[in-house]
Assembly symmetry: none
Homo-oligomer: 217 residues x 4
DNA sequence: GATGAATGAGGATTCATTCAT
DNA sequence: TATGAATGAATCCTCATTCAT
């Protein structure tokens, strides 16, 4: 009798358990990645942090890279969902200083709450040779930056736009590192403000579209 | 017998041999660090790259970290020796654009020739928790940046100066990553120019000393 | 409640269901054993092949060996049922060439349809140290061979008979391997014929019972 | 001084040690392969049997398969060196019974002393899908058998010769299994004699070249 | 019964480091 | 000094088996 009652609740509960495990493992992975970096993190360490056996981890992920990928994708989703509206047309119409507030603040906030995001983007620490998984995050965010740049400076050549977007993103990542390294409170806030200053000074000459990329030479 | 002949020449030769070994090992380490990153580099790989047995490596370095430290120190020395005059009083009197050329160009050049330098600074990719060895490089270079900042904007509070120096350095590192990632030639040159543009726009408001750190708020 | 309705129909249905499960699992095991060999086959792989959860498998078999044993027993039964009449008195009266046809052909056919049978007999590939499960198959079939030998050469000592039976069986197994390895069609048929030739030439001197076992010495 | 004395003796001694280790590891592997079979043998078990650490094993062999391959090659060499003259022209001129003695006896002897040889040939127990490493042994020995067959029955078609060689080799392997399973002494000798009987009866009709391959059909 | 999550010991392999020569 | 053999703990990953649901 009771077997027939809820033909779906049982599998659902199972799935729910599985989902919880995955979330738990990803959270654990985030912690360990943050503490030791992606490369130095072992799957066993993740399992230990999640208080599960190594076998359990491998029931949900085929290897460490898959964990990083899934974690990155989820964070990206989360970020888009939480702060995706930052790039809406209405905001794009704002003057640059306000736009920076509207765009940078939520990004910073999100990264403060999920410092593993930056860790994943730093990824395999090899400079100039970024691994696939982290590329995804990179590429995805870069695209957004490019779009904003394109909106503000539509007359630039694609190469110039790409270069400016790369640079903007590099600045942001660098600044974000400083922000995360700063103790929460006034110091962190000041660092955030400083980062916005950099971006504002760098990008404002582009706004009217009359400035060439390399004015110093 | 031959040990008695010249009580100094042999030790000296030994020292010379040792120095060559060390240089050889450090060069090998630089290569492998660049290719695989610090964490993923094994001491055996370094020894192999140096065409030396693992035992020999451990005769000169107690562990992997010591190699990175020594490598960093030597690079720092080299850099100071090659481009240390950039910070001489004469140069500091230059207007900012010229100063940037004079300071940034050699730094970039040096890093293009020694890409391992950036690799070491990225170091253990962990954000906000930089390992000892890389701290040294960091701290050392930061000090230089701070000095320049102090020269240009002597009225700033130490905290502001530190913040600006940190940010400047972060920008430089981020830009340097882009430079190294760009293919040599026009693209790389443009990236270098762009980096200088960022720095110029960021720092020029400080020059006359009338600008506060956070104009956007 | 519903348990009281028909005290037999439900258990029976259950037993029937159980039987189906067992058959399904054994079939799956046969497939996987054939493909990867007994040792390299995992119980999880069997369960997957049977589209069943690992837990279900263990509800019917205590471990991997039990699966092999049961599979062997069932195949033995099947074989006896399908081709057991080969050894009936009427057939034993046939002259050797015809008897070989009558005995060998169905055996070959059965093994072509159930290649796992040979896999089980090879079993744990260890020579001279055959595992329990496979021993059963072995012993059982050997007995049949011995009986036929005894019928044809009743004057031989038990030891000689045992030796000849062992050798006959070894030849058959070796030949069967070649048969299964040969592509179906003319090549396989020729291999079968060749196997019968071997057996005929080996055994025909025994038929009149006047030949000793070792004529070459 | 003493450093210069024997510039080769030291490396040589090292090489000698390495060679000893390799021999020791191969011997250990042979033991374990014989006891548990190739598939069920773990590299750790081999290392343990050789009383060395797992790391040591991997200094000499990249993986388990490489051990099996090297072991097979060495055994093949050894066999050829010890009993290779069995196939010399002079022997091929012998009548079949004598030839069998001359060929089979040393082979049997060698295999009794190196039972791992058969274990390697059984290899991955999968029927009809023999792994590469074991193929080498197989192919190599088969070639010898084919050559002898070709010498005795030059008029046969290549297909028939191949089939007869395959069958002869299968018989030998099967018989060899029985020989190794038999306790040393009279019983083993009788088994050897029986194997030769089989081969003699199977192959003697071919000698005059007048017999077709499949007389029963 | 059925499921599939969970386990943890074990297997292959690597690596920082030590040691005998 | 230099070598490279040796170590053994640690890594990634699998698998037979158990257990809660």
């Amino acid at each position: 009798m009771s077997e027939d009652v809820s033909e779906e609740s049982k599998p659902r509960r199972r799935q729910a358990r599985g989902e919880r495990r995955i979330a738990q493992l990803l959270q654990a992975a985030a912690n360990v990645f943050c503490t030791y970096g992606y490369t130095a993190t072992s799957t066993n360490a993740i399992a230990r942090e999640a208080s599960v056996s190594p076998g359990t981890l491998y029931q949900y992920f085929p290897n460490k890279e898959a964990i990083a990928i899934e974690l990155g994708e989820r964070l990206l989703h989360e970020m888009r969902e939480a702060h995706g509206q930052a790039f809406t047309p209405g905001n794009l119409a704002l003057p640059l200083p306000e736009l920076l507030d509207v765009v940078v603040d939520p990004m910073i906030e999100f990264n403060c709450e999920n410092p593993v995001f930056l860790a994943l983007m730093h990824g395999s620490e090899v400079p100039g040779r970024i691994a696939e998984e982290h590329d995804a995050l990179h590429a995805n965010l870069l695209t957004s930056v490019r779009d904003v740049i394109a909106h503000f400076a539509p007359t630039l050549s694609p190469e110039e736009r790409a270069r400016i977007a790369d640079m903007t993103f590099a600045i942001f990542k660098g600044g974000l590192g400083l922000v995360l390294a700063a103790p929460e409170g006034a110091e962190r806030d000041a660092t955030i403000a400083e980062l916005k200053t950099v971006l504002l000074r760098y990008l404002s000459p582009l706004v009217d579209g009359t400035v060439t990329t390399t004015p110093t030479r």
